[in-house]
């Protein structure tokens, strides 16, 4: 193929670089704002780099609210939800990848359809279910709900990874006397580890970001998660931007790091199962 012209390459680099700057800038802005002193945040002309670095906003955040507790709640909910969803989906995804049986297409549709429904449509009926079961204001409800909501996505993506592993590998292990579960754990699982880990991270991030179920189902402050605490700060008339920025940084940074190099898996996974292999 001919080499593209120099002008084309320059335009390309400029556009790509410009786009990256536009994407990164809001993140940069929230981080430097969280590190500015309050009077610098609200001084004109605004500064694009802190004149003086300060952790005051973070200190205030932890003093004003029980933020350490919210971080802990968020971590607990996200880890349990992501683990639960991944394990359940590994089982389901395996069966959907390896067997043919009546109703298989129905199961796949059953999962795909959930991806199109707005998640908050079930919020109110769920409130009734949970209060009937005495599960309002209990963190395990959040774990259970988030795990459930992530099962369809994870099952479909894990099935996709499993379909790419040749059957022959486990079949030969099973001839050697390995049972199915053993073959799955020992032979197949290591081969899909990268994809499985991306799915786990995706689930973690989704549960970590969940806002509306804790707003609806958690009442006591002790059960707040990070997004609820931030929502509480945003809904006030007089928003304390310094502390809010610090809180937003705490909410954003772990997920960006977990997601950073899973981008290919995530994007492919989001449309997986629907495109012909």
């Amino acid at each position: 193929m001919k080499k593209p012209s120099l002008i084309y390459r320059i335009i390309k680099v400029v556009i790509l670089a410009g786009f990256a700057v536009v994407i990164v800038f809001p993140f940069y802005w929230i981080i430097i704002t969280s590190l500015k002193e309050t009077k610098e945040i609200f001084s004109v002309p605004i500064s694009f780099f802190p004149r003086k670095f300060s952790l005051q906003n973070y200190r205030d955040l932890f003093q004003m609210l029980d933020f350490g507790r919210y971080i802990l709640n968020s971590i607990l909910v996200s880890i349990v939800a992501a683990s639960g969803a991944s394990v359940v989906s590994l089982c389901g995804g395996y069966v959907l990848a390896r067997f043919n049986f009546r109703g298989k297409q129905i199961v796949i549709y059953f999962y795909l359809i959930t991806q199109m429904l707005p998640s908050f449509i079930g919020l109110a009926p769920l409130y009734q279910m949970l209060s009937w079961a005495g599960m309002i204001d209990k963190l395990p409800s959040l774990m259970l709900l988030n795990a459930t909501w992530l099962i369809p996505y994870s099952t479909i993506t894990i099935r996709g990874y499993l379909m790419r592993v040749p059957r022959a590998l486990e079949e030969s292990a099973m001839i050697d006397g390995c049972n199915r579960i053993h073959a799955l754990v020992r032979i197949v699982f290591p081969l899909i580890l990268a994809g499985f880990s991306a799915t786990f991270r995706f689930c973690f991030v989704q549960a970590w970001n969940d806002l509306f179920s804790p707003i609806m189902y958690m009442n006591r402050q002790i059960n707040y998660t990070i997004p609820v605490a931030l929502n509480y700060m945003v809904q006030k008339n007089d928003i304390r931007w310094g502390e809010l920025s610090a809180g937003a940084v705490i909410a954003v940074v772990p997920t960006v790091i977990m997601f950073a190099f899973a981008q290919k898996y995530v994007a492919a996974g989001l449309i997986a199962g629907a495109v012909k292999e």
């Binding site: 193929m1 790509l16 786009f19 536009v22 994407i23 990164v24 800038f25 809001p26 802005w29 704002t33 945040i41 609200f42 605004i46 359940v88 089982c91 389901g92 069966v95 067997f99 043919n100 049986f101 059953f110 959930t114 199109m116 429904l117 707005p118 998640s119 908050f120 449509i121 079930g122 109110a124 009926p125 769920l126 409130y127 279910m129 259970l144 709900l145 795990a147 199915r180 970001n209 806002l211 509306f212 997004p227 929502n231 945003v234 809010l244 954003v252 997920t255 960006v256 997601f259 950073a260 190099f261 981008q263 290919k264 995530v266 994007a267 492919a268 989001l270 449309i271 495109v275 012909k276």
Partner: protein
């Protein structure tokens, strides 16, 4: 799908038990906590039902729908939703596609670049709203500072992007576009890798130009991905109420309210579950019609097994 019959016969009783127990937990949970609440919410659409006053709950037939279609707050979400979905989708798709073409040939750091532009996808719509409220802030936001530095805005009179009736909706759409571009870039870029280079080489021998190649080779080859990703994105944009919730909360004067954020508002702030469920039902019907029509028009079945 091949050798379907043979495999059906091959599942032994033990296999069938295995299939059942491996699938059951997932199906049971999803049925119980996705489908059941969702379906049991439908009757609420025909009831007066407020969490603030449960004792006044009663069947009222189509009353909720009648109220919705006579009030300005709901009616203005219809054109808003259409603009929100289509303008955002077209811009995201076009820019995303262009960037994907730029990323088609491998270069050092391409993986890292894609990781970086995918940052927003790790963040919820709610947090994106908070990030951008800062960017748009009239007095202390960097966007006004930039425009002032460029001499486009009078420093004495900065733009209140989110509080001004004319700029609020375009600003919300800009944020949505910012968020969605990377999805198209990454999926289309991945699809482009699958187009066999021989096709381009062969057409080059025939003297075909770049534009011809693009429309006759690239686009047809990755069509299933294009159709599916645009359909999914259109649905997700439609459902992207949490961005509106934290960016503008539908304001000023309802100019940025879309159907889903209006529904969310009814649940969270007004506890009016009956009316919210009526909106929910309208949303479901619209999404069903839209998906069917879109897949029919794009004749998707002929190419993929959705």
């Amino acid at each position: 799908m091949r050798s379907n019959k043979k495999n059906l016969a091959r599942n032994t009783k033990r296999d069938r038990l295995f299939i059942f127990f491996m699938l059951a937990p997932g199906i049971l949970l999803v049925a119980l906590f996705c489908y059941y609440p969702f379906l049991s919410g439908i009757p609420y659409a025909f009831k007066r039902y407020s969490l603030l006053n449960l004792s006044r709950t009663k069947w009222i037939g189509l009353k909720n729908f009648e109220t919705l279609f006579t009030e300005k707050e709901f009616l203005q979400t219809i054109p808003n939703t259409i603009k929100w979905v289509f303008i955002s989708l077209i811009l995201q798709f076009t820019i995303g596609f262009m960037l994907a073409l730029f990323l088609k040939n491998k270069f050092r750091g391409r993986g890292i670049y894609q990781g970086v532009i995918f940052f927003p996808w790790a963040v919820s719509g709610f947090l994106i709203g908070i990030l951008w409220r800062w960017i748009y802030n009239a007095a202390y936001g960097p966007l006004n500072a930039l425009l002032i530095a460029l001499g486009l805005v009078n420093p004495a009179n900065p733009i209140g992007f989110l509080s001004n009736l004319d700029t609020a909706f375009p600003s919300a759409i800009a944020t949505n576009v910012w968020y969605g571009i990377a999805f198209f870039t990454i999926t289309i870029q991945a699809a482009l890798q699958g187009v066999p280079t021989e096709l381009y080489e062969a057409s080059e021998v025939d003297g075909a130009g770049k534009v011809y190649q693009f429309f006759k080779i690239t686009v047809p080859y990755i069509r299933p991905v294009l159709i599916l990703s645009t359909l999914l994105r259109s649905i997700w944009i439609f459902n992207f109420a949490d961005l509106i919730y934290s960016l503008t909360r539908g304001g000023p004067g309802g100019t940025t309210e879309i159907m889903t954020s209006y529904m969310l508002n009814l649940i969270i702030f007004q506890s009016n579950i009956g009316k919210a469920s009526a909106v929910g039902l309208i949303i479901i019907v619209l999404l069903l019609i839209w998906s069917t029509v879109y897949l029919k028009l794009s004749r998707f079945e002929e190419e993929g097994d959705f």
